[in-house]
């Protein structure tokens, strides 16, 4: 809470959208992956989550998605109490969250258009809406010309743009990205980060887990650092904290 208290907030955007209080997460084996995590994120923020391998970053993302449940504490995302949410309410909750992974996770047997349309079909949009929304989102990520390509005909950067388009097409309130540039070269990494920033500027709350020191240092966003499951720093316009 102390780190949080020092932060200066944008006046118009201070509704809390993610709130964790004393969250612990222990897997059945090993030491707890997260310990006493207090985390508060406002609507419209852009947050980097950094830390060593095994520090609990992905675990945190999974908790926010309600893929995992917390062991103790309390977690609230967009007004949903994720410790108590009913199983059948989870789909509705997730429809407000976009998710991007390091390994893209596209459907290999479908082309770019279908991969993005897929997200809309799942939330049962009409064909008319799909035909309107998918091309416009593909234009935003710069893939309008490649809508017929299959994932394996695309570069890593292009595949991640497709994944990003898929995460965005349903107009999520929160975008979670777990090492979105982990498999990309510096140029593509920058382009993806710029896209994420642009998305954030349009009002989406963005959380990015990353190991990319240069980008974190250059972008001057809020940076939360995890170490062995504990938040060790939380800084507005922070930088990548070097260990040892």
């Amino acid at each position: 809470m102390s780190a949080r208290g020092k932060r200066r907030r944008a006046v118009s955007e201070n509704t809390e959208i993610i709130s964790l209080n004393k969250v612990c997460k222990a897997y059945s084996t090993g030491a707890p992956a997260l310990k006493d995590v207090d985390l508060h994120i406002n609507k419209g923020e852009f947050v980097f989550i950094v830390g060593d391998s095994g520090s609990g970053k992905s675990t945190l993302i999974k908790l926010l998605l309600r893929e995992l449940t917390i062991t103790s504490g309390s977690i609230n995302v967009m007004g949903y109490d994720l410790a108590r949410i009913k199983h059948r309410k989870i789909p509705k909750f997730r429809r407000n969250i976009g998710i991007v992974f390091q390994d893209f996770r596209l459907l290999k047997d479908r082309n770019v258009y279908e991969n993005v349309a897929f997200a809309q079909r799942i939330i049962q949009k009409s064909n008319k809406e799909i035909k309107k929304n998918v091309p416009s989102i593909l234009a935003i990520v710069g893939l309008a010309g490649k809508y017929k390509a299959k994932p394996k005909q695309l570069s890593g950067g292009e595949q991640q743009r497709v994944a990003l388009a898929r995460a965005l097409v349903n107009k999520p309130t929160v975008l979670l990205a777990d090492e979105p540039t982990g498999n990309l070269d510096p140029k593509n990494s920058w382009e993806i980060m710029k896209l994420l920033e642009q998305i954030n500027e349009n009002g989406t709350t963005v959380l990015v887990v990353t190991h990319n020191r240069e980008i974190v240092n250059a972008m001057q966003k809020r940076v939360i650092t995890l170490k062995k499951g504990v938040i060790v720093s939380d800084e507005e316009k922070g930088g990548y904290i070097d260990e040892d």
Binding site: R88, P91, I99, R105, F118, A119, I122, I123, Q124, N170
Partner: protein, 298 residues
Amino acid sequence: MRINTFFYTLRQGFRNIFRNKWFTLASIATISACLFLFGLFYAVVSNFQHIVKNAEQGVSVTVFFQEGLEDSRIQEIGEMIARRTEVSNVHFVSAEEAWESFKADYLGEYADGFTENPLADSANYQIYLSDVSMQPALVTYLESIEGVRKVNRSEVTARTLTGVNALVAYVSVGIIAILLAVSIFLISNTVTIGISVRKEEINIMKYIGATDFFVRSPFVIEGMLIGLIGAAIPLGIIYLLYNIVMEYIVERFSALSHLLSFLTVEQIFNVLIPVSIGIGVGIGFFGSITTVRKHLRV
């Protein structure tokens, strides 16, 4: 559900079928084999029962009267018999008719030597039963009627036919049950494999916020399609084979043609089509829904 969601789900179901071709083929082949056996079985059993039924209708009980019994009493006895529920038909044969038919059957031209009816006391009722198993009870009843001299029956035939009917019923139920179990097992395996092949896709769907229903439906449709195709194939084959086989049997066993009265292919298919498709689709539905429930706890 939105109409285009419905078509999307349907399309995914079809896709699944082609995506894991070999397992799908194996399931379809097994269901086809099962339903082919079932169809064959049904065709044989229902024809057999048809023949038995015809034979049963030929099994009669004959009632003779005491000498000199007056016609009015004979009439009365006839009415009493006709009132019995197990009796399907009572037919009076006068002494003259009995003699005429005996002459025609056995004597031919030699009959001219007889001047008097040697079967004067042979007027009788011929009784046909609707259910052969009721024969002993009927005979007991008939023997207790005053004025009845003798009751002829064909007890052996009646018993055999009743026994065969029951046996056929038990065996068919048993075999069909086994076939059903095998089919459900196979469909369930196919769907399990389909799910494991598509684990990643399912995961993505869940991340995006697909409902359980949306994730599960394509697999259930896949199962039902497998069942439907698995039912259609044997129906087609049986349809083509049926007439050929019947013609062959009739030709080969022409000597028995008065005994062998077969059902038409339409009569068989009136039952076989809905039942086969029902079983096929039912197995597909049941096999996939249980599997999907187990493996897709989203």
